[in-house]
């Protein structure tokens, strides 16, 4: 499946440095986003280590498919998903080692969300509160579940959406890369339709914009890069309190207009 992608990262209006990092590899159909945390420049370092390590692990596995999986094999998911989870675990070790070795000691961590497309299947791995969304028709669905204190409380039924939205503890994570020697990685697999749009974003987007605002941008824009730019610009206009990063992914075979759809229909039925 051909993919069109657009990506942009911005420091925002309040912070002095950008602790978000992303990597896009269209040839590998691999897209990675990470939000770093830690004092001084540790957040930037942590997120950069995370995205580079994941890219490198997947690249090496492509060259050498017998490269061992770090942290064992998961049941019920395909090889690509297992490889992605393995890459995230390697990234955890890399950030953890860097944190141990740094002068600030332990004051370094990162979230990550990574997707890889193989055929019609998208593999997804994540840790922390950076998110993946899918827009399918009018249905805008969050594909990841935040590893944050308030999200866990809501899942346990101990907090309402309103309480979570106003909580002072919104920024507290319960899982991140670089905190412990090993980490549990959430994985999932998704079917990709020609008409889907996938969005990866850091919390600088979702703290500023509602689902409806993001949906509108994704529906109104033609090009993936234009969509990523507009998401970031809107989040900045809304306050831009945190770093803002968005990656927009669309199958390139998007049929446009009535003739495009007719052509697609003829092709599909042939």
């Amino acid at each position: 499946m051909e993919l069109e992608y657009g990506a942009r990262s911005d420091t925002g209006c309040v912070r002095e440095n950008n602790e978000d990092s992303y990597r896009a590899s269209p040839e590998m159909q691999l897209f990675i986003l990470s939000d770093g945390m830690g004092g001084l420049e540790c957040g930037e370092v942590a997120s950069r280590i995370a995205v580079d390590t994941i890219l490198e692990h997947c690249r090496r596995a492509d060259l050498n498919p017998s490269l061992p999986l770090t942290g064992g094999r998961l049941d019920g998911v395909c090889d690509a998903t297992n490889r992605l989870a393995s890459a995230v675990r390697v990234a955890n070790s890399a950030v953890y080692s860097a944190a141990q070795g740094s002068a600030q000691g332990r004051a370094m961590g990162a979230t990550v969300v990574a997707v890889r497309f193989v055929g019609e299947r998208m593999s997804l791995a994540h840790v922390g509160d950076s998110r993946a969304y899918r827009l399918r028709g009018d249905d805008f669905e969050q594909l990841t579940r935040d590893h944050s204190f308030v999200a866990e409380q809501m899942r346990q039924g101990r907090m309402t959406v309103q309480q979570a939205g106003s909580s002072r503890l919104q920024n507290v994570l319960v899982r991140a890369l670089g905190i412990d020697p090993s980490v549990e990685v959430d994985t999932s697999e998704e079917l990709v339709l020609d008409t889907d749009t996938v969005l990866l974003c850091s919390d600088g987007v979702t703290r500023e914009l509602s689902d409806a605002q993001i949906t509108a941008v994704l529906q109104e824009t033609e090009e993936a890069q234009e969509a990523a730019d507009r998401v970031v610009d809107l989040a900045k206009q809304a306050g831009g309190e945190d770093n803002i990063t968005a990656i927009v992914l669309r199958p390139a075979a998007r049929p446009v207009g009535a003739f495009g759809r007719l052509g697609k229909w003829l092709k599909d039925s042939a």
């Binding site: 945390m37 028709g137 249905d139 669905e141 346990q156 920024n171 994570l173 319960v174 905190i179 999932s188």
Partner: protein, 244 residues
């Protein structure tokens, strides 16, 4: 402020602080602590503050309320007391406030994280928290989901098999090569619908090229499946069941 810690066989299910308002305990959902067990009365007992003392009163329940093994009607509670109701235990503990819990060991640098700055829970607190979450997850798990295999049974329509075990995180219904439930009819879509298994072992069905119906209603968003649910999509009818 003292808090009530509801336990079942060493798992902490819930923690409720007792402030100026009383906390009622019983099988009915209106209670501050609900215990869904037939051995527990609908309104079984209450815990409340009186003149700075923590009191427990049994509402004349059928199976009784026990403090440290003794059946009681009305007693004063102290930290460490163990209240038995049915097979559940409520332990009285002195509570720390949420701020202490969230920012961990109270180091000055961590005590006031800037708003919006992402932080981690202190490692020890986080482990306790995660253990607590895991304990709740386990006790809330429905038994059949663990012992039995979630399965789609074909009730009608043309498919390549009559039953499909849902072993994978992603199950696609359609004509596509990656589909598990393969549709045989000529005009079937490549991908009619998809079923995702989440990490808590729940199953959600979502629309793809078609919008499936669950129990006769078209879904408007990914919808959790329960045993006995009937799915209709692209001319086939499937039932979601747990098989031995």
């Amino acid at each position: 402020m003292p808090k009530l810690v509801l336990k079942f066989e060493n798992s902490v299910l819930k923690e409720v602080p007792v402030g100026t308002n009383e906390v009622s305990i019983g099988r009915s959902p209106e209670n501050g602590i609900m215990i869904d067990n037939p051995a527990v009365s609908h309104f079984h007992a209450r815990v409340f503050n009186e003149d700075g003392r923590l009191m427990l009163e049994d509402f004349g329940s059928l199976n009784g309320t026990f403090v440290n093994g003794q059946r009681v009607k009305m007693v004063t509670l102290k930290a460490g007391d163990s209240v038995g109701i049915g097979k559940h235990t409520i332990v009285i503990s002195e509570s720390r406030d949420l701020d202490g819990f969230a920012v961990g060991s109270g180091k000055p640098a961590q005590a006031a994280p800037k708003l919006n700055e992402t932080v981690m829970l202190d490692t020890k607190e986080r482990r306790e928290f995660l253990q607590k979450v895991a304990a709740v997850g386990e006790s809330a798990q429905v038994a059949p989901a663990r012992l039995k295999v979630p399965t789609l049974v074909v009730r009608s329509g043309r498919t390549d098999r009559r039953e499909y075990m849902l072993n994978d995180k992603l199950t696609v219904i359609g004509k596509s090569a990656m589909a598990t439930v393969k549709l045989k009819s000529w005009f079937a879509p490549k991908a009619a619908a998809q079923i995702n298994r989440r990490d808590d072992q729940s199953y959600y069905i979502g629309a793809a090229d078609k919008v499936p119906c669950v129990n006769g209603n078209p879904i408007t968003q990914p919808t959790q499946l329960f045993p006995g649910d009937v799915i209709e999509v692209a001319g086939i009818q499937l039932e979601f069941v747990y098989r031995d």
